[in-house]
Symmetry: C2
Subunit: 155 residues, 2 copies
Amino acid sequence: MKEKFLNKAVEQALHGIRNNYGGPFGAVIVKDGKIIGKGCNKVTSSNDPTAHAEIVAIRQACEATSSYHLQDAVIYTTCEPCPMCMAAIYWAGIRTVYYSADREDAERIGFGDKFIYEELKLPPGRRTVSMNRLDIPAIKDLFREWENKQDKVLY
Amino acid sequence: MKEKFLNKAVEQALHGIRNNYGGPFGAVIVKDGKIIGKGCNKVTSSNDPTAHAEIVAIRQACEATSSYHLQDAVIYTTCEPCPMCMAAIYWAGIRTVYYSADREDAERIGFGDKFIYEELKLPPGRRTVSMNRLDIPAIKDLFREWENKQDKVLY
């Protein structure tokens, strides 16, 4: 079963590269034994650096289930999710990931997943991206307005 | 100037919470002194756990510039980007971030950014999300097909 769904993710990836949608990555999301979302990398074809296979699949599964939370769903992805996709998996409430290649394999074919994992471990001030914190008074008011908001939807 | 654009990000966030789009977060992306993308958190209203302010703004800026790379762009965001958004910033090629609140402030109002940062520092096998690596033969063929592809677009 696991291999079957992982091979479906590979099918997505092959479909993607043969149609020039983007990099060699695919993903499917499964709930109760059924695929509820799938996707391949579409970064270059859609001009969207966030259009990784996992993000595309999560967005599709959420749309299909009219929910921003994919409880009890499992994601099968050709490669270990990059930090963007891994964090998206946390935000989506997915608790189980199956993958085949890893960040080292991705690096060998030219993708920076491993580098970004290393960067995110560093304190913000020590990264190659310049991180600048500015104290502006409006932030406290913004967060206070949120805290006091009676009809807010938590996620 | 920096404060001006950061206050524009706050405006986005206020617009978002007052219209019940999502959490109290906003972002703007600036290039050559002009805003090329902006967004507020829309997780709950759009049923999309990836619709954080920074992701929304990156997608809009990429659409506006017909590019998957935002070279020389700067992002101003109300709160330190979560790992999903931070990695998206790397993938988009943004080199400079201005922010006001940080992951500790976000935690105090109920958001899990800091927790996810801690999880991503761990080796995959030690996280609360179950990470399972499966060796399937199709992966090697997939990556080889990508490597041999003559017309591939790198990103």
